[in-house]
Symmetry: D2
Subunit: 121 residues, 4 copies
């Protein structure tokens, strides 16, 4: 479990797992998006009745933390499967979106405000 620290190798590792099971025919982008949404739904279930202010400590509870880690692991796997299927470099896509977000949320207008400045105008 040591070598796959960089995103590209990790994506290949996740892809090989699916290929070994001949899952490519199920893994079209529509189905992967749906699978991702169902895993995120399980993550939401963990937090749905917890107050915001308690959600950090809730996530760290010994009975809750393994489920949180499981669901976030699934999110990571499906993110990588989507990137691989669509021939997207996963690091690249994150950095490009971050760059776009930098234009949408300029520091001077967005400090302490999570909505784009145009939305609150």
């Amino acid at each position: 479990m040591r070598e796959a620290r960089d995103l590209h190798s990790l994506m290949e590792r996740v892809g090989a797992f699916a290929d070994d099971r001949d899952w490519g025919k199920f893994h079209d982008p529509k189905n992967l998006a749906m699978a991702l949404a169902s895993e995120v739904g399980e993550l939401l279930a963990i937090f749905r009745w917890v107050d915001n202010g308690d959600s950090d400590s809730h996530a760290m509870r010994a009975e809750v933390s393994p489920a949180v880690r499981d669901e976030i692991g699934d999110v990571g796997i499906l993110f990588l499967l989507l990137c691989r299927r669509l021939e997207i470099d996963p690091a690249d896509i994150v950095l490009r979106k971050l760059e776009a977000n930098g234009v949408k949320y300029p520091v001077e207008f967005s400090t302490g405000n999570p909505e784009p400045p145009t939305a609150s105008a």
Copy 2:
């Protein structure tokens, strides 16, 4: 945009973007899970009326591809923000989940079958 190829650096990069805007107070795990779900919802919207068999070519269309990349980029960003908030190593969590999935979906029973063998018993 070159150096953050490994997941840990990428996570720090994404985290710094949020810290620069003082967004930590909005980024508790409950809110991040919800934000992730809303981005995944936008990804679903792209594919909702498209047949499975057409979803690869749909995703590659010139008018569709930028939106697909945007939403997948957001998924990557929120995955990394969740990992950072919960002090989870993102590569580690993916590899651990993959290992658990290897037990749940043994190659010999899972080839060509996307459901765990116990579920179809």
Copy 3:
């Protein structure tokens, strides 16, 4: 189980169930939206690996149908809880949205096309 055929009575019935358990403090709109999304995630899980053309017959299978009905029942319950919390008449909101959709999707431009005419322009 006979009398609550109209939507308003059904909403009151669902609300009384929650009130009997003193769940109002958990049922703010944010939490209800999150709970709804988690139930919809379970519905997605049922269909994620099934082809469009097989999804009707899949939903009707004896092993699948009870789960489909459970999740759709939960969606109905959460729809009604959201309406009640926000003092929205559930029949009214559906009819108003339908009216708005009639403007967005005129019959003459929308026949056989699930996207608004402006979106495909």
Copy 4:
């Protein structure tokens, strides 16, 4: 907009809207579930950065309320389209799920506790 107060007529009204546009071919259960999830994602977007305690007043704000109503209207429409496609009586399914929930969440163990008693054991 007066007559469709009962759920069955409302479902027929929603179904006729889709039939008029020949949308049946897009409305298999897989696609409807996906469309429902994307509308719920838009609802989540409205509440993602708002604290629980502020979410009632947020939903009632003049700039926010129309979007909340739009998304909840879409949830109602998709709930009814799913019921119609799967030949489910919408009032029935809600009442049956409520009955099942009554067993899962007995009043004496569930007052002030949103999780089933077995889950917290």
